[in-house]
């Protein structure tokens, strides 16, 4: 199991780096899909099969397809990087360094001694457990977030039909 974790972790990091370094946006999207798959693999290792499946369906199956659509229709397929002015590059370097500093500080101050809250349970992360938890402990949050989704859907329809309404 540990080997599987390290293989997945290393490939997740490598493919995430490839997302940034790929010249063509289509390749970036494909590397990002690979990253999502490795993360889904980590979920499976943690016994969260439902989360893994939903992760693949939503991110790799829906959102990334949309990204590909946009890239293909905008014809962003020329493998050239836009030339940026010098002050933009300076901003980018400063921003990156600040983010890096924040992360290092966060890792530095946190402790890495974990004590599991519950004893290991074979059925944890299965869809039955998840359903019971969602509908008992978090029913209000669950319903509110589904209302939010509904609002977002209606918003999308109205945006798409701008001329007719």
């Amino acid at each position: 199991m540990e080997i599987a974790f390290y293989v997945l972790a290393v490939s997740a990091i490598l493919s995430a780096l490839a997302v940034v370094f790929a010249k063509s946006p289509v390749y970036s999207v494909l590397w990002l899909i690979l990253t999502f798959f490795t993360i889904a693999g980590q979920y499976v290792l943690l016994n969260a099969q439902f989360l893994a499946a939903v992760h693949v369906i939503v991110y790799a199956g829906a959102i990334m397809v949309l990204f590909l659509f946009v890239i293909m229709l905008l014809n962003l397929n020329i493998a050239t990087e836009p030339v940026k002015p010098v002050y933009m590059r300076a901003y980018e370097i400063v921003g990156g360094c600040v983010l890096c500093l924040t992360m290092v500080a966060a890792i530095h101050t946190s402790s890495f001694e974990f004590t599991p809250v519950n004893a290991y349970d074979n059925s944890i992360g299965t869809i039955e457990k998840l359903g019971v938890t969602l509908y008992n402990n978090y029913i209000f949050i669950f319903e509110v977030s589904s209302l939010l989704f509904l609002a977002a859907m209606i918003g999308a329809v109205i945006l798409a039909k701008k001329g007719d309404i």
């Binding site: 693949v56 790799a60 199956g61 397809v65 659509f69 293909m72 299965t126």
Partner: protein, 342 residues
């Protein structure tokens, strides 16, 4: 543990082989059925009744020149047919091809992986299936290919929704996402088959399966009058072969899913009254399952040569304004009835 792993490996190889064999001979069956419906003879030169025709086709595909157009993205152009084929093959992992065999007192289920989330796994695989076609169309660097692939992708995304909601109704009925459990609950008399409790769900699922396989009447991605050959216009040789073959594998998998989810899978009605030995019952059940699959494959083909192609706006209208609301109504009705029965 070791015999279990060996059995699983053999099972994987057998299922892979069977899938490919059935897909190969589906191409033959398709031509014969087309010939029958158009009052022709169909392939009859290679072997007796033309039975060697698929092999001749394969030889032809492999020996043709493998051409990559000048402006194409070589890596993705090569990768795309492989993605299409492998995603098509992946779904058969969770299909229960039979109950279980008992050898030396050990029980070996005839299913590669009885996933707790089998149905979700299927929708996951279906949703990744878009990439092969999309990348193939884009990498060809051809307008018609790109248009065809965009059509195919939007069609598949649209019909995934109806398909998913139709499957939710089945999950509500059986209370489990594992395909093995769904099939087991249809054991016994014939009216326990899900088709009798979910007829509307089946019609929705079946229509969506046709659209997901890009089969007529939903084969707009390769609409010759408008798009030359659609997403595989630029493809030749075995790369084209893989795209075409993936369609037949998809057809096999959807037929298997339809018979497992709605037509009792490997259950033969009333077989438990015969008191047959367990292994014999399993073997008969598997044979019955394959008969159902062949029936659905033939159904796919008869539809192809009967119904003309939709127009693209009609296709989108059907998917979003008819099938999706119907699927939601079906889900609501299932929920209400389940509540009333409790």
């Amino acid at each position: 543990m070791l015999p279990y792993i060996v059995f699983k490996l053999i099972l994987v190889l057998v299922i892979l082989g069977l899938t490919l064999l059935i897909a190969t001979y589906s191409t033959y069956a398709e031509r014969k059925i087309a010939a029958f419906m158009q009052d022709r003879l169909g392939p009859d030169r290679a072997g007796k009744f033309g039975l060697l025709q698929p092999i001749a086709d394969a030889v032809k595909f492999f020996t043709k020149e493998d051409f990559i157009p000048a402006g194409a993205d070589r890596v993705l152009f090569t990768l795309a047919p492989a993605i299409a084929m492998s995603t098509a093959l992946m779904a058969s992992v969770v299909i229960p091809f039979g109950n279980s065999l008992i050898l030396n007192g050990m029980e070996f289920p005839l299913q590669v992986a009885n996933l707790n989330i089998g149905v979700l796994y299927i929708s996951g695989v279906v949703s990744i299936g878009v990439y092969g076609i999309m990348l193939g169309g884009w990498a060809s660097n051809n307008k018609y290919s790109l248009l065809g692939s965009i059509r195919a992708a939007s069609q598949m995304i649209s019909y995934e929704i109806g398909m998913g909601i139709a499957m939710v109704a089945i999950i509500m009925m059986s209370g489990s996402m594992s395909l093995h459990d769904i099939v087991q609950q249809q054991a016994g008399p014939i009216w326990k088959w899900n088709i009798f409790v979910q007829p509307l769900g089946f019609i929705i699922f079946c229509t969506c399966a046709f659209a997901e396989c890009n089969r007529t009447p939903f084969d707009l991605p390769e609409c010759e009058q408008e798009l030359v050959g659609g997403y595989h216009t630029e493809y030749s040789s075995m790369k084209l072969g893989l795209f075409l073959f993936a369609e037949y594998v998809n057809m096999f998998v959807s037929s298997a899913l339809m018979s497992a989810m709605y037509f009792g899978g490997y259950n033969i009605p009333w077989i438990e009254h015969l008191n047959l030995p367990h292994n014999v019952e399993t073997a008969l059940g598997s044979a019955f399952f394959f008969i159902k699959i062949f029936f659905f494959i033939a159904f796919f083909m008869f539809i192809r040569w009967t119904i003309p192609r939709f127009r693209y706006d009609q296709l989108m209208h059907l998917g979003w304004r008819i099938l999706m609301p119907l699927a939601i109504v079906n889900m609501l009705l299932t929920g209400i009835i389940l509540l009333l029965i409790q």
